[in-house]
């Protein structure tokens, strides 16, 4: 008889000494708030959506549109917005579908797989945010250049950029871009990393067996 079988006997004996909750106590519990991982992932992705959309609204005021008009960029911007909103809505739909798919009655392996799939969607969404931020950033720089070239008063020799200034300027901007993207990436990795570390470990544990 091995150790575990000894334990099994004891396990059954202990059954009688387990403290019992009353009907009312259990009834109260079902209305308590859940603190499950899924809920947290959901909250965080909602916040991410909110931040993205909020930033967009904040940037696009009337003045912004007037400027775009001035540089003949209205059509281009509208197309960009339509595309980015379509992509965003696609992600909202995916998020919704993923959360519906999470089902505590699945087997542990299936459930973990579903949750990790949710994370993947979030990952793609963040990727989309990063790429589109980079795109907008680079695009704005191009506009700055064009404006610079189009503005006559800068023909003033004191204000003109020589090649050294341009290198510094572009270098500085690229560095800033890298920092911003890096921060977004870091936040993402930290938040989901902490949240899903244990789950990931458990999933790997089960996965190992399938090989």
């Amino acid at each position: 008889m091995d150790n575990l079988d000894l334990l099994k006997k004891d396990w059954k004996k202990q059954e009688k000494s387990i403290p019992q909750l009353s009907y009312d106590e259990i009834y109260k519990l079902i209305w308590k708030r859940s603190s499950s991982i899924v809920k947290w992932i959901f909250f965080i992705s909602i916040i991410e959506f909110g931040l993205g959309a909020g930033l967009n609204i904040f940037i696009t005021d009337d003045e912004y549109w007037a400027k775009l008009e001035k540089y003949n960029l209205t059509l281009f911007s509208i197309i960009t917005y339509v595309v980015s909103y379509l992509i965003t809505f696609y992600f909202i739909y995916k998020f919704y579908k993923n959360y519906r798919a999470i089902n505590a009655t699945d087997s542990a392996a299936v459930l973990m797989k579903t949750i990790l799939k949710v994370r993947k969607t979030v990952k793609y969404y963040i990727g989309f945010i990063l790429i589109s931020s980079a795109f907008v950033f680079i695009f704005s720089i191009i506009i700055v250049f064009r404006t610079h070239a189009m503005t006559p008063e800068i023909a003033d020799p004191d204000m003109a950029f020589d090649w050294k200034n341009w290198v510094l300027f572009i270098g500085g901007i690229l560095l800033l871009l890298a920092v911003i993207l890096g921060v977004i990436w870091l936040i993402y990795t930290l938040v989901y990393g902490i949240l899903l570390r244990r789950l990931h470990r458990n999933y790997k544990e089960l996965k190992k067996l399938e090989m």
Binding site: N3, S22, A104, A108, N202
Partner: protein
């Protein structure tokens, strides 16, 4: 949710609450986390209850949802500190030196289980609950052969923790 469903659910859970308590015992180290996990299990069961069709027994269904909660959904509020476990082992060994050896051995076993990972704990739990490999494999989502292999490894692991 209507009142009937609520009543049905709470009655079912009241009768089967031992399953959840035992899972909490394996997965948590103190009373506070025990209560936390019990609460989360109750919430997850209640959320999943409309999908419970009654084609299996409530208890069978409960094993699955409750274990899923412990392994997958539950977010530990504080990291349980391993050293605390060790301390309590030493403490017990010192103070209960005259205790009967079998009992001491059991305590060591329980403590060894606490050091396993979440999946291994689930296996041990299902084993202690007298579940067969078909049920274990179904709950965890692995094949029966894998469940057997895994169980043997867990036994070795426990053995190594107790007799390093």
């Amino acid at each position: 949710m209507n009142k009937d469903l609520e009543h049905q659910f709470v009655t079912n859970l009241e009768q089967n609450q031992n399953i959840a308590h035992k899972i909490c015992r394996i997965y948590t180290n103190d009373q506070e986390s025990h209560n936390d996990l019990f609460q989360e299990i109750t919430i997850q069961l209640w959320k999943a209850y409309p999908k419970f069709r009654g084609d299996s027994k409530f208890s069978t269904w409960m094993y699955r949802v409750a274990l899923n909660t412990a392994i997958t959904l539950y977010r530990k509020k504080k990291k349980s500190i391993r050293t605390q476990d060790y301390d309590s082992v030493h403490f017990k060994i010192k103070t209960e030196a005259y205790d009967d050896t079998a009992e001491q051995h059991l305590k060591l076993m329980y403590d060894a289980i606490k050091q396993l990972n979440d999946i291994d704990k689930a296996l041990v739990f299902l084993y202690l609950e007298d579940k067969n490999y078909a049920e274990i494999s179904e709950t965890l989502g692995i094949t029966e052969v894998n469940a057997r292999v895994k169980m043997n490894r867990v036994k070795t692991k426990l053995q190594n923790i107790i007799n390093p």
